[in-house]
């Protein structure tokens, strides 16, 4: 993959690749790379066709569909006719093209009843199976039909050769499994939405309709996937829609299991970036321990700081229990306006509420508008910087040695800190635990 590989690697700027483990690319990243690759391939193919007006350009059903998605229906019809006429040998494989050519506007509700038609529908969402299989099929057909001189030149030559080589090396084994969960379809939607900038809108609309249709056909698709994986040994690779990684089972359970494991590992990587000091730890158990400790320390810090805030600010007596009982349905919007209204609002707790609310809403709104997976993926790249910048700029450097010092700190603090006066001697006693001068000066001042 001399030329396509750099492109694919370049496409893999996903945040899911946080750990520098370039060896194992997850299914999702492969899929994304393939989508972009596919698009490029199709663009090139279209260019070739438009330039040369090939009489024989046998394209796999998947790439044809993709072309339709890229709203080039006339070209598709052209392909269909041209494929059908000079190549009767291919009829047994693509018998439905006549039907398909007329129904390219609505792929999801395609009236194609036979299995291959359904496979084509299936293949739209399972974009992973398309390009190498398509290129391989093209290469193979060219070889068998003796038109190899035309095709390798017309195709993106590097990719064609590479996929052909790959096919030669291990035909059925070097295929990748695309598991079928609802989450898988969500990912596809996520990918579709991400790639919207690249792919035309019609394409994405068609994709979303096909994915929703495929959601409906989920049960039947599992059967066909098993069938396909069995069939893969017999038929040519262009009909395979579910791929197994080399040396791994093609069972649907293990597919789902693998997808789930990849999701979990992706999230663990994200958490590794969130929690400071976790770069050296490489076990799930160790990571979970660190995460638990970190969450506990954060919660303790929240309590500690909120109590300090309350102590510092003059406070009136208020009833926090009434806070939720009295709340109106549209309470959140009223908060900023209600500051000066009632005496309760002068309470430091409410002051705290306002500031914290404003800040957290600013940070939270970045992620809130996206669908869950998208939010997760988008926030992988951007939002990791938020706590980091805060932590860098703020005075909380104890995180580096937080596991020992903070516990001591909070042990001392909470043991003595129950009284509301917060005598300064306690703080001075604990100031050694903090490395920062800022904090020291404020402690002395209180």
């Amino acid at each position: 993959m001399s030329r396509a590989l750099p492109e694919m690697i370049h496409c893999l700027n996903t945040p899911g690749n946080l750990a520098g483990n370039g060896m194992e690319v997850s299914v999702l990243e492969r899929q994304r790379a393939r989508m972009k690759w596919q698009q490029e391939q199709l663009q090139q193919q279209q260019n070739y066709v438009n330039e040369n007006g090939l009489s024989m350009f046998p394209i796999s059903p998947h790439t044809q569909q993709f072309q339709v998605l890229i709203n080039n229906e006339s070209v598709l019809n052209e392909f269909v006719n041209r494929v059908m006429k000079p190549d009767p040998g291919l009829d047994h494989r693509w018998p439905h093209f006549g039907k398909f050519g007329g129904e390219d506007s609505d792929l999801g509700s395609c009236g194609i009843g036979n299995g291959s038609g359904f496979e084509m529908n299936y293949a739209i969402s399972r974009t992973a199976s398309c390009p190498p299989a398509g290129a391989a099929a093209i290469a193979e057909v060219a070889e068998t039909k003796g038109r190899e001189s035309v095709l390798p030149e017309k195709l993106s030559s590097a990719v064609g050769r590479e996929s052909f080589r790959k096919r030669k090396a291990d035909k059925t084994q070097n295929l990748k499994v695309v598991a079928e969960d609802g989450t898988r379809n969500k990912r596809i939607k996520g990918c579709a939405e991400e790639g919207e900038s690249k792919i035309t809108e019609q394409n994405s609309n068609n994709k979303s309709t096909t994915t929703t249709n495929n959601n409906n056909k989920k049960e039947t698709s599992t059967d066909t996937s098993k069938e396909n994986s069995k069939v893969s040994d017999v038929q040519k690779p262009d009909y395979i829609h579910v791929r197994a990684r080399r040396g791994q089972a093609t069972d649907s359970h293990s597919l789902a299991e693998r997808v789930r494991r990849e999701k979990i590992s992706e999230r663990m990587k994200y958490l590794q970036d969130l929690v400071p000091g976790c770069n050296k730890i490489t076990g799930k158990a160790g990571m979970l321990d660190e995460i638990i400790n970190y969450v506990q320390s954060l919660q303790r810090q929240v309590e500690f700081l909120s109590m300090k805030l309350v102590a510092v600010n003059p406070r009136l007596d208020f009833n926090i229990d009434n806070f939720f009982t009295k709340e109106a349905p549209a309470c959140t919007s009223n908060f900023p306006t209600a500051v000066g209204v009632s005496s309760e609002m002068a309470n430091p707790a409410y002051l705290e509420l306002n500031t914290l609310q404003q800040l957290v809403s600013c940070c939270g709104l970045d992620m809130g508008t996206n669908p869950p997976d998208m939010a997760f993926r988008k926030t992988l790249s951007d939002p990791v910087s938020i706590p980091e910048t805060f932590l860098d700029s703020s005075c909380f450097n104890p995180y580096s040695t937080w596991d020992t010092n903070l516990q001591d700190l909070y042990g001392v603090e909470f043991h003595q800190g129950r009284s509301p006066s917060f005598p300064s001697q306690q703080f001075i006693g604990t100031e050694n635990h903090y490395k920062n001068d800022h904090y020291k000066t404020t402690l002395v001042n209180t």
Binding site: S306, Q357, I386
Partner: protein, 118 residues
């Protein structure tokens, strides 16, 4: 002030802090929904229920029952609000979001403390 009163007071302060945070997040995340539910039910009852799990959905996750990560997962579930009813994968995602919100709250509170004390 007696220890009980001070304890009550610190509890109120904690509740105020968490309620501000969860109000900012809204109902976007599962953990914020669970925490909102817990706080509101506390306010309605007028006392803090000393029960372990507050989640509305009580469906137990029994899939990974026999794995070694169970203890940590349980601990994490107890820490993250609403974690009882989540699967492990969802739990990790909610934990990440929870950590982010807690961190921003800590930093903001600290900054405010700094500003207020000058």
């Amino acid at each position: 002030m007696s220890s009980k009163d001070s304890h009550r007071r610190s509890q109120k302060i904690t509740i105020a802090a968490y309620s501000s945070m969860v109000r900012a997040v809204g109902t976007r995340r599962a953990w914020s929904r669970a925490l909102l539910f817990k706080l509101r039910s506390q306010a309605r009852r007028g006392y803090v229920v000393k029960r372990r799990c507050f989640s509305v959905k009580k469906r137990r996750v029994t899939k990974k029952a026999s794995s070694g990560e169970l203890k940590q997962a349980e601990k994490l579930r107890s820490l993250v609000p609403g974690g009882e009813a989540m699967e492990f994968c969802e739990l990790l995602e909610e934990t990440a979001d929870y950590i982010k919100c807690l961190a921003t709250q800590v930093i903001r509170a600290y900054g405010k403390h700094q500003k207020g004390s000058r």
